[in-house]
């Protein structure tokens, strides 16, 4: 039986002028792994909400057509009924844990379905073991990390073995390690349990290798429904913004077929003799720079250093040490990416730069104002009009002059980010340093590109730009220098091409495909390298 059948679905949210979904026809068969691709506001989330019954039962609006989830017609059955056949997972881990402990969270859907105590206890154990969260069972949910919470929420969605699981960008709030783990967990459950998976995702490079099929949406319509390689071939011409970095690398190098993942890409390159033999990454590629001497008077004058950390420590009373003897100089106009796993100290370092936190030892020096954009841009938006949030000139500089009378909550994610940037940049004194903490979470590729352009513009105007990010592709697009933090101190500090080409997690997809060869980080650089090699092959 088809686990999800959508027939002629057109849906308009209450109060909206345009439909969010138009004439959608889609079938998902048992055991399929389907990825929903598309830019922000293309209709991915709405389609998943229609499959889970939240559209129209929870959101209201105008609904035409028919959706059968696990054989149940969503016009007759609400989300609570459909929960027995479809597990649902949203973006934000924080709002998906409704009870106090992991055990209660996993038991809740089973109890709601009327299972007896023995069946509930067994279901909890099985879900916990399947997702590797058995050690967390008695932990309070408010103490879990984002990755752990998202696993618990997935466990709650899967408890009771639904036929299909619907996931709306579940990795968008997670670091790359936790995100990759979640996707591979889904693949394993898909293969071992036969559960159909419908996954909406912005970072396609993370999940295409696991997918059987990709359904692309644009403007609320399905514009492509194909196997991953065929989708990438279609995207090369029709929707370049949906291409993965690996696919862009191949397209620009004139290679076919586009790869669904790193393994696929390397196999193709190897078959063409284009892959250089790889050795272990050089340990000397990116030594941390301690008290880097800069040009000018004494190397550290106010003119040449926009931001300096001098032996900065941050030790929590009764807790751990978050920063350990950090020495770092950032020059005006320099673009620095701070990378490292969760808890490495990136956000704390930025908070010290902006004066939100004070070092317990050492000092922070800045040549002028430090503007800091924290992780949630919505936190900066406190008024009812865009025009009231920041000076008009600042709003105009981020390209939102025409939106002054809109409510900030009506802006898209990328627009909100720009407005928040206008708030922290202000209009008076230009910021000497602009710091951004995880600015690309939940952004599509187009919005990331816009932000990268904007940050390069700020740096060109003389501001030092420091970005804490897990997103290696964004770091490669923005930064000329990467500082890798671990356990509260820099363990690597060098040009982006050195740091991001030499690792696995802290590396771009292009670097992973090419094994870090030539320091190529972006598809354009990698394609140039491959083209040169192809030319050499043709003209010996």
């Amino acid at each position: 039986m088809t686990v999800l059948a959508v027939q002629g679905l057109t849906y308009t949210y209450a109060g909206a002028a345009e439909p969010a979904l138009r004439d959608i026809d889609l079938r998902v068969e048992p055991g399929e792994f389907v990825v929903l691709a598309g830019l922000s506001a293309s209709g991915k989330s709405t389609l998943l909400r229609a499959a889970s019954g939240l559209v129209p039962h929870f959101h209201g609006g105008t609904f035409a057509g028919r959706v059968l989830t696990g054989g149940l017609d969503t016009r007759e059955h609400g989300p609570a009924d459909l929960a027995a056949v479809a597990g649902t997972l949203f973006q934000d881990p924080e709002t998906q844990a409704v009870l106090g402990t992991v055990r209660a969270e996993l038991a809740f859907p089973l109890e709601n379905r009327g299972h007896g105590p023995a069946a509930v206890a067994r279901g909890v154990e099985e879900a916990a073991l399947a997702l590797g969260i058995d050690a967390l069972l008695d932990r309070p949910t408010h103490e879990l990390s984002g990755g752990e919470l998202q696993r618990v929420a997935l466990g709650a969605a899967l408890a009771g073995r639904p036929e299909v699981v619907l996931l709306d960008e579940p990795t968008s709030q997670l670091d790359p390690v936790a995100g990759d783990e979640l996707v591979w967990l889904l693949r394993r459950l898909n293969e071992e349990w036969g559960t159909a998976v419908v996954l909406a995702e912005q970072r396609l490079e993370r999940c295409l290798a696991a997918a059987d099929r990709v359904v692309a949406l644009a403007g609320g319509r399905i514009v492509c429904d194909a196997a991953p390689r065929d989708f990438l071939g279609w995207a090369a011409d029709a929707a370049p913004a949906l291409q993965t970095p690996g696919a862009r690398l191949f397209t620009r190098a004139g290679l076919r077929p586009p790869p669904a993942g790193v393994k696929d890409a390397r196999a193709t390159l190897r078959s063409h003799g284009l892959l250089a033999p790889t050795g272990p990454p050089s340990a000397e590629a990116a030594p941390p720079r301690r008290r880097r001497r800069l040009p000018g008077r004494g190397g550290r004058s106010a003119e040449t250093t926009a931001l300096a950390f001098r032996d900065v420590w941050h030790e929590l009373r009764g807790g751990r040490t978050i920063l350990r003897a950090v020495d770092l100089d950032v020059r005006p106009g320099e673009r620095v990416a701070l990378m490292g796993r969760n808890g490495a100290g990136k956000s704390t370092l930025l908070r010290h730069a902006a004066g939100l936190m004070a070092p317990t030892r050492g000092r922070v020096e800045a040549s002028g104002r430090v503007a800091l954009l924290l992780q949630h841009p919505g936190d900066y938006l406190l008024h009812d009009r865009v025009g009231d949030e920041a000076p008009a000139a600042a709003i105009a500089r981020v390209g939102l002059a025409g939106h002054a009378d809109r409510h900030p909550r009506d802006l898209s994610g990328g627009e909100r980010q720009r407005l928040a940037l206008a708030v922290v940049l202000g209009d008076d004194e230009p910021a000497a340093v602009v710091c951004l903490d995880e600015p690309t979470r939940g952004m599509d590729r187009g919005a990331k590109g816009d932000l990268a352009d904007r940050l390069r513009g700020l740096a060109a105007a003389g501001s030092a730009v420091v970005v804490a990010t897990h997103d290696a592709e964004f770091a490669a697009a923005v930064a000329d220098r990467v500082v890798l933090l671990a356990d509260g101190r820099p363990i690597a500090d060098a040009a982006a091409s050195e740091v991001l080409a030499g690792g696995w997690y802290f590396a771009t997809e292009t670097a992973r495909i090419l094994g870090g060869e030539g320091g190529a980080l972006r598809p354009e650089e990698g394609a140039e390298l491959l083209r040169r090699r192809l030319t050499l092959e043709v003209t010996p």
């Binding site: 019954g53 989300p79 106090g100 709650a156």
Partner: protein
């Protein structure tokens, strides 16, 4: 102010027993007026919290309770007309009229302040040691929606506290004079809370909430040594409290003159309540989960 599992006998006890323990001491605090007994209850509760590793969790409730208790003391001293032992004559004080501060009014205010403190301490321990999910299981057959609402509120307290801290940080990141007032931040926190409530409601829907009728009885878990000990202490506190009241032990009168008997009965009662608070915490076998 949220539950944190710690290896302690009170945490190891079932939610019903631990809740009964806390409520028994809160009830004793409300019943008795004798300063010695109230003082003993306060000390016993602090010692109990320390023995359970949640003494730090009492800091926040005490930060709220101490000013409240002091206000009660001061207001009672100013407005009470009872008592014959005048400590100070303040004369005409506006709407309060002729104000005489009497020893009886001050002591009565102190007793009320002690009561507030004891009840807040018991509530603080309750919040720190009683598993809200256990309480939900206990009460869901009676009123599932109410129990779930209470659990959600408990769960969302730390989440909203984090939201508020984030918003305050964002406010501080605004340059120069653009810093909005705390009212704007408060409004944003409230809006954020509503957004979260909508998201949580959607999560409840997709977890199947509302699809079933009456709940079956919770599985009968065997009573552990800690369940017995904590429940027995709670029962003993209630019994002693009722018995002492019936026997007239630890009586208190403040009008027209102070009458605070301090005999063997009061001392034994204070010691007994202290011992009952700590006795179930002595056995630390099998407390880790």
């Amino acid at each position: 102010m949220s539950h944190r599992p710690v290896a302690s006998p009170l945490h190891a006890a079932r939610a019903g027993a631990a809740a009964a323990y806390c409520m028994a001491f809160a009830a004793a605090g409300l019943v008795f007026e004798h300063p010695l007994v109230l003082g003993a209850l306060g000390v016993a509760l602090v010692a109990s919290a320390a023995a359970c590793g949640v003494a730090g969790a009492l800091a926040t409730p005490l930060r709220l309770a101490v000013p409240l208790a002091l206000s009660v003391l001061v207001v009672n001293a100013l407005v009470s007309r009872g008592g014959l032992t005048v400590l100070a004559r303040l004369g005409e004080l506006g709407p309060l009229g002729q104000v005489d501060i009497t020893l009886e009014a001050v002591v009565t205010g102190g007793v009320m302040a002690l009561r507030v403190t004891v009840v807040v301490l018991a509530a603080g321990i309750f919040a720190a040691v009683v598993d809200p999910d256990g309480l939900l299981r206990l009460f869901r057959r009676v009123s599932f929606r109410s129990a779930l609402t209470a659990v959600l509120a408990t769960r969302l307290i730390p989440v909203l506290a984090r939201d508020a801290r984030r918003l305050d940080d964002a406010r501080r990141c605004r340059p120069g004079e653009a810093v909005p007032g705390r009212v704007a931040v408060l409004r944003a926190v409230a809006t954020g809370a509503l957004d979260r409530a909508v998201d949580v409601a959607a999560t409840l829907e997709v977890r199947g909430y509302g699809t079933r009728g009456p709940w079956p009885a919770a599985p009968r878990a065997p009573w552990s040594r800690h369940d017995f000990a904590v429940a027995a202490a709670a029962a003993a506190v209630v019994t002693i409290t009722v018995g002492a009241r019936l026997a007239g032990v630890a009586s208190f009168a403040a009008d027209p003159r102070l009458a605070i008997p301090l005999g063997p009965g009061e001392v034994v009662l204070a010691l007994a309540l202290g011992a009952l608070a700590l006795a179930p915490l002595a056995d630390r076998r099998g407390i880790a989960r």
